[in-house]
Symmetry: C2
Subunit: 346 residues, 2 copies
Amino acid sequence: MSLLTSNSHSMSEEEIDEYSDGTVKLRNPNIELMDQDILYHLALGSESHDLNEMFGDVKFVCMGGTPKRMENFAHFIMNEIGYKLPAGTMLQDISAYSYRYSMYKVGPVLCVSHGMGTPSVSILMHEMIKLMYHAKCQDPVFIRIGTCGGIGVEGGTVIITEDALDGQLRNSHEFTILGETIHRPAKLDKKLARELKALASPDDPYDTIIGKTLCTNDFYEGQGRLDGAFCDFSESDKMAYLEKLSANGVVNIEMESTIFAALTYHAGIKAAVVCVALLNRLNGDQVNAPKEVMNEWQARPQILVARYIRKVLAQKGQLKGIFGAQGSIKSPRRFKLVQQESQAHE
Amino acid sequence: MSLLTSNSHSMSEEEIDEYSDGTVKLRNPNIELMDQDILYHLALGSESHDLNEMFGDVKFVCMGGTPKRMENFAHFIMNEIGYKLPAGTMLQDISAYSYRYSMYKVGPVLCVSHGMGTPSVSILMHEMIKLMYHAKCQDPVFIRIGTCGGIGVEGGTVIITEDALDGQLRNSHEFTILGETIHRPAKLDKKLARELKALASPDDPYDTIIGKTLCTNDFYEGQGRLDGAFCDFSESDKMAYLEKLSANGVVNIEMESTIFAALTYHAGIKAAVVCVALLNRLNGDQVNAPKEVMNEWQARPQILVARYIRKVLAQKGQLKGIFGAQGSIKSPRRFKLVQQESQAHE
């Protein structure tokens, strides 16, 4: 099985540079030999659909846990980049008939739900990377827009992941392939993280920080919560654990970042993770902020990512629409308007 | 951290017998001390809802991956047990506002979607077990109704899990709690598995078998598929791996069974996993059976579970409705009718 380890390194910058046309290359020689490639969990296929025509213009792939959040983001980003649907049309969930993930396309922005936990993200990432390949997308950027528990940061804080760590605080994701355990680096693009951080505005009524993110396979025992169906540890055990995380630079805990980082890095795709903290775990375990507050918090990573997308499109002279090409969104007010409109659809 | 290991054994039959009233006990002393318990991912709470009134009569908790499958099952089981909704009412997704899981209640049967992969199931199981506790449900039985890849069995075969194995073929699930790795047995109720098997009819135009189930954290590389975004192994490596699984008694692969078995066993809840194979992995990797065929296949585990629920209710004299109390469903025809009705709602 030495072929596994010998080939399992991630691409160096030199290797990535070789792909001068910017399209996503697959590290799997089998795909191009197949008559058709069914992306089963997306309800798409390389023969049943013209994937290049449908998705060839995608530049940003934004992912988040729930279908609802990604539908909201699709409506929001449509407004932010001034994208207009043809008269008499509305957004449609492209993957509706997979009954698994939801996908909305707004010009160059693809908004996809990934469910909860690394295995669910893993399935989606394999199929999204293959979709980028079939569609011949150029230099797509992948951004996860999530929620998390903060460690020592207040609810509502926006956190950009510097490094994704697994349960043993390793900066990698563990894979079991043909019964063999391997690790792949869970690296994110540090320059992209800094670019995103720079788009935080001093006028934002909340903090936007960069830090390490712990990725767990469970929400209760796995994150040291005292309020699961089972709990064999004490409050002081829990606090000692959270303090240890904090001493290691961990500022938040979620359940998807290592696989998202490991698979994008392995594919040579630039990626970032931006989450909002729903609580400060040093103060408690239950997620109990009022619904309106939580909705406003969940908009914050979306606002930051929208600023980034506007900036990139403006630099390319591709920002159309009513707001001009300033490349920066000062006020979160428009978000609320779009969210309300979107909720009116429910 | 010795408290972790010392307390982490599962309940013996003697211990379970101590709970003579049959209600679900939590192995967490913290919950009863809390003012309220918010079941965040179900959009329910112990103070905001009267959980005993809403769920106290639940006897069967049926889970499956997608919201759609569980909605279909809810309509199907309603017909099968002769359960009638009050005039002018329809089934409603109880957890709709969680935007994460879907939950439908049909008298004593709760139908819940669990998403894909063990972490997603883990979150749900903690909250479902707590729900059973708050609702004071008596002796609930948990059954996962899933899809899988078969090994040496044809697409459409129904497989009842005897033992759930992890990627290293261990009959346990690995947990990381406060940074420490522990294993809990992934045991299912063998008597329940035999009861389910006995409900397969010689008239069924497909096989129903019992065997070991491999649970993986990925659908592509993790299951030895050649058609993911990445593949560092050859077809002969893959076949050697699948043959090794087969030699170990593994008849199918899915992504949820170890956590489902480990957490129900740890809670002293009787549980089973019934899946239908969507393909024979010895013949290929892609899931490409026609949609109509796949829909009919996905009905098969539901038919078996419905026979079981009817049998139990009939034994208790609780089977109402138009079909009488034979406790056995001979024909899958009624399923199709209900499915069609349900699809007409889409």
